[in-house]
Assembly symmetry: C2
Homo-oligomer: 376 residues x 2
């Protein structure tokens, strides 16, 4: 344990890196996958179970929490960790991305974004200053700068303008964050799929100086090839001695490709969302448990997996509870998916430390090609 | 452990009894509350968590399981215990009660009941013989005789006719059940709220001879006073050396009143169903977590309760996740409710063993009268 936020790089293998982020609330082994706990819960999971999958940190959504139950309320109740019974680190996003997706419900100015709540229609305002204050009230360990993020594909001029606004907001975020020992502030690189804009953004952020840097504005519709194209250069533009966080990614093959390109942290709703719709992610690809071919199958989802769903149940059972819309279906499949994601991260950390990431990546793709993949 | 089914009475206090049912799959401490696992899952709970609440046995529903996933399928997959990952005893109902509630969808004859599935409209037939076969395929430890159960209030002639049909079906159930060491068959007393019919039914069942006896046909609309009126005499008509099971009961005060009157086993969906709608049962009565008065309340649901919901969370958190319709709301409140029910049973077992059931009952009612009860 430490009373400061710090990052130590332990090994690299090509562009891939493994290390550890130290925080007063615990260590985050990198590359790290952060399950998403949008509304102060990782859906269908108890916090002890999330920890049991191997998660060192989870993500909370500022937008959702400020609307319900409200950041002041969470602060009065002792902060988000105590509120949701999770004592390990929490990263909160800035609310920027989710507010942008409201489209008609928002109004953007240099000062910030005015929007209406999807819960009750009430009017709210988010800016670098209010986002920093809300994330402080929540008690977040890793605070994200407030940014704007256009959906892709987008006009390059629009992307450049948006990136520059985000850089001005990054500076205001830093000033508003102030000096909070033990807490970290991450800047967010923007610039779409344009290398020069990514470079300009990285330089602006580095000048301001952050505890970590996110690659933002990806996984917003550009496709894996374009995303990897950006990741071939964007992480290398960011300071090597700080953690690099790719926001909102992704499928297992996205994650392996991102780590290969120098990403240290990721988050995504996919493993938990998939789990609630009968979809499982395994070493061998995606499995749709709704499919009738599982109805009489006595085998576990993955015979090599040690999660409770695979140790305790047949595919036939999982199929049954998915079809019967029983809550246990979402509970077991979310657990499995989060367990698989964490095993994937642990496998990559070990491979990078041993200098065999290329072999790991080849095995990863071979296992998926070998079978048990079905169209979904 | 034992290879036979047996019941030992350890102590009585007035009409109340405490003892233990021994089965090859484990011991059931009585009075016992059986959580309901309708479709091969206690809704919102993992089996380990059900066991952690203190449940020695759970109930499965023949009607639901025969329709989905199907009894033959469950048998091919190794039986219900293995299928649902619960290695302790399971009691299955006969399907009779649920088929009766289908009303228009069924046709009743001396032979049995023809009905249509609520899942897919397919046609099915249940009789004493098919019910015994289905419960055998499921691998149930305690099998219930197939009976008919009219809703109350009902015409006494209709109740008598129905009871006599159930007694003929009880005889056929016994014959079809055969000799299955380690498995038990329970007969079901009928007769509505008419003492003479209850006596006639008890005599018919005792003549046939069962491993245990249920008091059936209550908790079907007659009200607590009428139910207690029947329980003042009905259990005493049944053999004292066999367990007595009151089907489908109930609220905590129903349960205390039933144990007081000589009941050894009960089941009810109430604690799990309530948990999924934001309702908690505590020593102090029912608490509706949807209520806005909990929004800022940092206290646990019950400061004396050791369940995960009460140890880890505030009322404010529970209120938040109920309002946000998060799955964890149902998971935590179901756990709490089942934990509370099992603590209530344990408290009654201890009180009966110590000869202080009257004091226990007085404390139970005093705690509820003292507060934290709100209208629902």
């Amino acid at each position: 344990m430490t009373d400061r936020f710090s990052f130590a790089l332990h090994a690299t293998d090509g562009a891939a890196r493994t290390g550890a982020i130290s925080t007063p609330r615990g260590t985050i082994r990198t590359p790290a996958f952060m399950p998403v706990g949008t509304a102060a819960t990782v859906k269908a999971m108890l916090p002890d179970s999330v920890a049991a999958t191997g998660a060192d940190i989870l993500l909370g959504n500022t937008y959702h929490l400020m609307l319900r139950p409200g950041a002041e309320r969470v602060a009065r109740l002792g902060g988000l960790h105590s509120f949701m019974n999770w004592d390990r680190p929490i990263l909160t996003d800035s609310g920027g991305f989710q507010v942008m997706s409201l489209a008609d419900l928002r109004r953007l100015t240099e000062e910030g974004v005015t929007f209406r709540s999807h819960v009750d229609g009430s009017k709210h305002f988010l800016s670098p200053e209010t986002s920093m204050e809300i994330q402080r009230l929540l008690g977040s360990d890793i605070v994200m700068a407030f940014d704007e993020c256009p959906a892709l594909p987008a006009d390059e001029a629009r992307v450049a303008e948006s990136m520059r606004l985000s850089m001005r907001w990054a500076e205001r975020s830093k000033a508003a964050f102030g000096d909070r020992p033990g807490h970290a502030l991450f800047g967010i690189q923007q610039g779409g799929v344009t290398r020069e804009l990514r470079q300009e953004s990285a330089e602006a952020l580095t000048r301001i100086g952050f505890d970590g840097y996110a690659v933002g504005g990806l996984a917003v519709g550009e496709g894996q090839e374009a995303m990897f194209g950006v990741l071939d250069y964007a992480p290398g533009m960011l300071p090597a001695d700080r953690p690099r966080y790719l926001m909102g990614v992704g499928k297992p093959d996205d994650i392996v490709g991102a780590v290969k390109r120098g990403i240290d942290m990721m988050d995504c709703v996919l493993p938990s969302r998939s789990g609630r719709t009968g979809q499982a992610w395994t070493r061998r690809g995606q499995v749709n448990l709704r499919n009738a071919r599982h109805a009489d199958d006595p085998r576990p989802l993955d015979e090599a997996c040690t999660c409770p769903a695979c140790r305790g149940y047949s595919r036939a059972y999982l199929h049954h509870v998915v079809r019967a819309k029983e809550m246990i279906a979402g509970m077991l499949l979310t657990w499995h998916n989060l367990h698989y994601y964490q095993e994937l991260m642990a496998g990559m950390r070990d491979a990078i430390a041993a200098g065999r990431f290329a072999a790991f990546e080849a095995e990863f793709h071979a296992a998926r090609a070998a079978g048990d993949i079905e169209p979904v």
